[in-house]
Amino acid sequence: MSNEFDADVIVIGSGALGSNAAYTLAKKGKSVIILEAGEKIPRWKIVENFRNSSKKENYNSPYPNEPWAHHSYDEQYIENTGSFELRPGMLKLVGGTTWHWAAAAWRYIPNDMKLKTLYGVGRDWPMEYSELEPYYLKAELALGVCGSDTEDQSGQGGEAWPPRSGKYPMEPEGETYLFQRLKDRIGSAGFNFIHEPNARATRAYDTRPACSGNNNCMPVCPIGAMYSGNVHAQHAEDEGAKLITDATAYKLEKGPNGDIVAVHYRSSKGDDVRLTAKYFIVAAHGLETPKLLLISDVANSSDQVGRNLMDHTGMGLTFLADEEVWMGRGAVQQGGIFNRRDGEFRRDYAAVKHAVSNGVPNMKVARRLIEQGVFGQQLDERLRDEASRWVEISTVFEMLPHQSNRVEASTTRKDALGIPMLKVHYDVDDYVKAAKPYASADFARFVELMGGTVIEDDTGWQNRDHLMGTVIMGDDPTDSVVNHECRTWDHKNLFLATTGVIPASGVINPTLTGVALSIRAAEIIDREI
């Protein structure tokens, strides 16, 4: 470590992306400081908070919501101005939001990264799948992903795809009875069911035990079989990284030559600290990262910071099958139907993914029956019957980047540290809307094939908590924020480790890709220091 700097690298945010970058650098002997806005909280406390919560379906409720470190459901945190209320479930504590993700760990397929070239819409990635592939493998090893090495994840029923240079670290979990039944009846009509690669251990892995089916991935895995960012926050600390909690970065300071020279943070105790480093990585997630750049007035010569915001805005289907399928055994999700993941149709409308949910449905079933005025023995009987036949499909759409869908620093709301909160403008685009009839037609077909009775098939647009595009990656400094290395065009020592760099959303959950890019960025920094 140099005497002139507080650290070689300062990482802002201890989520899965920041922690993996920090660990990669610390392991290589670099001095690393991690700044984390929230606190370190042991798993058992979160589990107890969950069990004692009056809002079990509110995944943020077991987590801290402090005036100086709000979780995203705080009433004041996001001011929405668009037609859609974007409110992803982001957390502030050591380990970040993957404390309550569902651990879907997909890779993009090569075509997802050439959307403009192949289909004339959206943007291309500034890199090839083959360049990212080795880092996907590293990310899968880090997160302990289990997956199928033989399926065509593009959903076209072909050979194993996308290409892999190595096997998944773990074999997939066994197929749930629910999945087997849906696959049998819906799959036989030509719908391709694909196992979802996921960061749940199917045998002891790293520090984690194997999943035993607690069915509580969201909001907290009680045994830590599911990966969350705290694993690598701890690994980074064990490799010598210094983790500072209750430390909210609020300013990146530019030096005379355009490099970033320091970061300033505040704590709830009144500290206001300036730290210097050779390199900086902002890993504060897809909304807070652009906000920090905007309030620091850095990295925005393109005027793209905060713009191009994409979620996999979705919709849902709930129905009762004509047979017992018993949702709720195993983890909360296992895979889905991928026929619409790729194809020429993407010229005209969004790709679609249908995921099969697998959460114990009793709360929803019971609430509905009670509301209908069912009591007593009849309530118990119907509850059992409907819970056994309940099916939920969670559908997502591919969104395109638009200038007007954006996050900015709020001009009216500040947190307890005096730091602006968030303003978001989000409209679901026509590309997504054009795909809705196809998704709805699929819904009708699923219900028909399962001899089902619809409970709900028109939910309206829903949040899917996947934040992309806000610090968009590209090969032109005038219309993107970072290059393929995740290095900001404007400051050569400022890197961004966030799913916000993703320029084309596809339909798959973005975190594995974010981790792969973050490990890659850390390795680039390591070579340069």
Binding site: S54, N214, N216, R329, G376
Partner: protein, 183 residues
């Protein structure tokens, strides 16, 4: 000032009414199943009456008294008119001569919106384990915790699915259907 006094005396009146009706009901076999609560002596008459009502509505003779009291506290704290509404529901059930919770299914009593809402609120507290109305994607709402592991929504499926976060299984147990489905 005035308002405060009014509220107070209103509450007292409600208490008296509820008390009176519960005494009457206590003598009615249909609403006094042979339940014994550990600490009955320390409970107010309203709490005792509520306990009977809860047993009746849920159709469960063996509700945990601590949970009943927690539900009582949540429901009364969340709604000033609750005692009055509970009393009304109580009397209506009595007058209709209902013998069990199942008699409520499709009964004309449920056409009375206020009575129906009260009965559902109570049923819901015990089945779902909370009172109030959740607001999604917000930090605050008026929900209150009643119970988790004793929520009545779980026993009907206990042989097949877990209470989330309390696995009783092992990796891959889920490849098989529940025992009740095995031929």
């Amino acid at each position: 000032m005035n308002k405060k006094t009014e509220t107070k005396s209103e509450a007292a009146l409600n208490r008296r009414h509820f008390l009176a009706s519960s005494m009457v009901l206590a003598g009615a076999a249909i609403l006094s199943p042979a339940i014994a609560w550990a600490d009955a002596a320390s409970l107010t008459k309203e709490q005792q009456a509520f306990s009977q009502l809860a047993h009746f509505i849920t159709g469960k003779p063996q509700l945990d008294e601590v949970i009943i009291q927690r539900a009582f506290d949540c429901l009364t704290a969340g709604n000033k008119a609750f005692l009055q509404q509970a009393e009304t529901a109580f009397n209506a059930i009595k007058q209709a001569g209902l013998k069990s919770a199942d008699d409520l299914n499709g009964h004309a009593l449920m056409d009375n919106a206020e009575i129906a809402a009260t009965l559902k609120q109570i049923n819901s507290a015990f089945y779902l384990g909370y009172t109030g109305t959740p607001i999604s994607a917000r930090a605050n709402d008026n929900t209150q915790f009643v119970t988790y592991t004793d929520a009545l929504m779980y026993p009907p499926t206990a042989d097949a699915t877990v209470i989330p976060s309390y696995s009783r299984g092992h990796t891959n147990y889920w490849v098989n259907p529940p025992a009740s489905l095995k031929k």
